[in-house]
Amino acid sequence: MNFRSEESKKVITYLLFVAPALVIYLVIIGYPIIRSLHLSLTDYNVYTNEAVWTGFKWYTKMFSQSEFWMALKNTMIVVVVSVFGQIPIGFVLAYILYRKLVRFRGFFQGMVFLPITLSMVIVGILWLKMFSSVGAITNLLRLIYNDPEYTIGMLSSKTWAMVPVAFALLWIYTGFYMVVFLANLQRINPSIVEAAMIDGASEAHIFLKVIIPSLSGVVVILTIFAIAGSLKGFDLIFALTGGGPSNYTEVLTLYMYRYAFTYFNYSFGSAISMVIVIMSIILIILVRVIQRRLTGPKEV
């Protein structure tokens, strides 16, 4: 067995092993990304398959629509709720479990985590039914207020309509962050904590000096997860509110869906999807920059 044939065998194996995945990946993900960018800069007629170059026409149209700004605002609300709601609450829950402050920990952990394993569309429809006129929540509130016509004003308020949506998102995704934090907490060497306790350190001291520093890395990863996930979110809001009332709960993904697949304006839809991608990249870079700012001086 000479070296050359061994090396060429290796190369052939490499190619054969990588090629199938690479081809599927490039055709299904790579090509569409480029095509999407192209579509967004043209006026595309699906019946003739002709695309006429328009430059940034769709982008200017988008930025001039009040709908876009509403969708952007709501998308940012979802991002904020994820980063500043789900992550801290997830941490608190994990810490309670870690310090064994409650019993039935397995059960509680299971219940908090369960929602993210379910189909978001089905969960959305279920919650919709809960709030409908025959739903449990509506009937419960009507019983409590002793008013057979009681309706939840928040659901139709321009200012507050996102609150129930944010609440549902909080309920669904907090479990994910809880489990990740818990796993990382459990990796902290217990002897370090014990040693600190023997030294007479207070709970607060242990928390601030031992626990928090060990989690800074994972917080950054989770923040990126939360941002990317928030910008992708579609199923739950689509099933729960459909963006309504009016467009008070519309997010960018719904906005894109409507123009592309109910009004069949594929070019405009592509422009919206490009904005989503660019936003997600900018936000993730921003997180990295902030991370460097925060940790930088200490390292120096």
């Binding site: 709908e67 025959v134 309504g244 009016s246």
Partner: protein, 428 residues
């Protein structure tokens, strides 16, 4: 080429229905729009089967879809240059991109002198002045006021003759713990299609609307703003409760059938939700108490009295450029589907909208109380245009979402009118 000689093959495999037949068959591919879960679905299957038996030389390949899925598939097939031979089309903009593209045959040459057998409104010119589909029914009224006369009588109230009379009833109705008008306005198109369209037909009229679409008139004109003011007022006075903006489309009929509202606004297609024999929401006795009418007149309105918003119904259309043999077979199907046999079957099966085919003997058709009323509804109410049939998508989108804002008091009629004008102007 499949040759299944001597066997009448009738496979119902999932929702793909294939009706095959004897040798030498012409195959017709049919993309069918229809809700397989809807009450009365068997009737449609029966019509297809009857056609297959009467025309053993034509082999049908039927694919059935409904709602968004249908429109996506049709767009997909059109884009791929694989349009089916026969498909359900809409008279106006809903399938406008396809019918305007020249991919669909004009049916007038096929129709010839047979045109006299149809209700004139049904076979009136469609987009581009052509007839792209042969409508099944005389038409669709997108606005209908369902009245629960049982509740009305119980409150000692009479049918309102004017809009002001209707408004004056609110305190009495609300005092009795009931809703005045329920409308399942959660989907944004509902208020536009089932409410505002009919009001605009009265306050501004069709002539104005066509001018506004072309840019010869503006959506900020008084007639249109007035219509918006009426909608705003309906919510502000409690004639319609704000909570209706959250009432799901499937929830609406339940609210009305449960005697929680005296009036209900929806399209004529919702009659079957109440009256369908097997699983309708109302018993015949309950249906007796329901009157089908329209919003009463507004003082000083310019449009016709007692009008409703109306559009020609859907029907089958044919792909353009079929071979002679195929075109003949396809036309046989298209005309059979709305002809006397099929129309009669539909009536007997409980889908009781007046067919586009005239001179049909309906004396032996058993009708539920509400269906009889539906038959009587159309001659009494002159048609006006439905907004989304003539206004381009960007404008419709602003009207749809804007009406909910108006209902919730988040925008004024004048502001909304200006925004609608701007949205339509951007694509005129």
């Amino acid at each position: 080429m499949f040759r299944k000689t001597g066997v009448l093959l009738c496979v119902l495999a999932f929702s793909l229905v294939v009706f095959a037949s004897c040798a030498g068959a012409v195959t017709i591919k049919w993309l069918h729009y229809f809700d397989i879960t809807a009450p009365g679905a068997e009737v449609d299957l029966d019509i297809i089967q009857t056609f297959a038996q009467l025309n053993p030389d034509i082999k049908l390949e039927v694919e059935t879809l409904y709602d968004d899925a249908y429109h996506q598939k049709l767009a997909a097939l059109a884009a791929a240059g694989q349009l089916p031979d026969v498909m359900i089309l809409w008279p106006a903009e809903r399938t406008g991109k396809i019918t305007r593209s020249g991919l669909i045959a004009d049916l007038y040459p096929f129709l010839g002198d047979d045109i006299d057998n149809y209700v004139p409104a049904a076979v009136a010119p469609q987009l581009l002045g052509r007839l792209h589909e042969l409508p099944m029914f005389s038409g669709t009224a997108s606005h209908m006021l369902y009245v629960n006369t049982g509740l009305l009588d119980g409150l000692g109230l009479a049918m309102p003759q004017t809009y002001n009379e209707l408004k004056a009833m609110v305190p009495a109705i609300r005092g009795a713990g009931l809703e005045a008008i329920a409308i399942p306005a959660k989907p944004t198109w509902v208020m536009q299609s089932c409410l505002l369209s009919a009001i605009v037909g009265r306050t501004a009229g069709d002539e104005w609307l066509m001018k506004a679409v072309k840019g010869e008139a503006s959506f900020t004109d008084e007639g249109f703003v007035w219509a918006l003011r009426i909608v705003e007022e309906m919510y502000a006075t409690g004639l319609i409760l704000e909570s209706n903006v959250l009432l799901g489309y499937g929830d609406g009929p339940n609210v009305f059938a449960e005697d929680k509202a005296v009036f209900y606004i929806d399209g004529d297609w919702r009659v079957s939700a109440f009256s369908a024999v097997a699983d309708g929401l109302m018993t015949p006795e309950e249906q007796e108490k329901i009157t089908l009418t329209v919003l009463p007149d507004f003082a000083g309105q310019v449009g016709p009295s007692g009008s409703t918003s109306f559009v020609a119904s859907t029907g089958l259309g044919m792909k353009a450029g079929l071979s002679q043999e195929k075109a003949e077979a396809a036309w046989k199907l298209v005309s059979f589907y709305v002809g006397p046999i099929a129309s009669k079957k539909r009536l007997l099966g409980g889908s009781l909208k007046p067919p586009s085919w005239t001179n049909l003997d309906i004396s032996d058709v058993e009708m539920g109380p509400m269906d009889r009323k539906l038959f009587d509804f159309y001659p009494l109410h002159p048609p006006t245009l439905i907004l989304d049939a003539v206004i381009p998508a960007d404008g419709v989108q602003r009207i749809n979402t804007g009406l909910q804002e108006l209902a919730l008091g988040d925008i004024t009629p004048e502001e909304l009118a200006a925004e609608i004008e701007a949205a339509v102007a951007s694509v005129r």
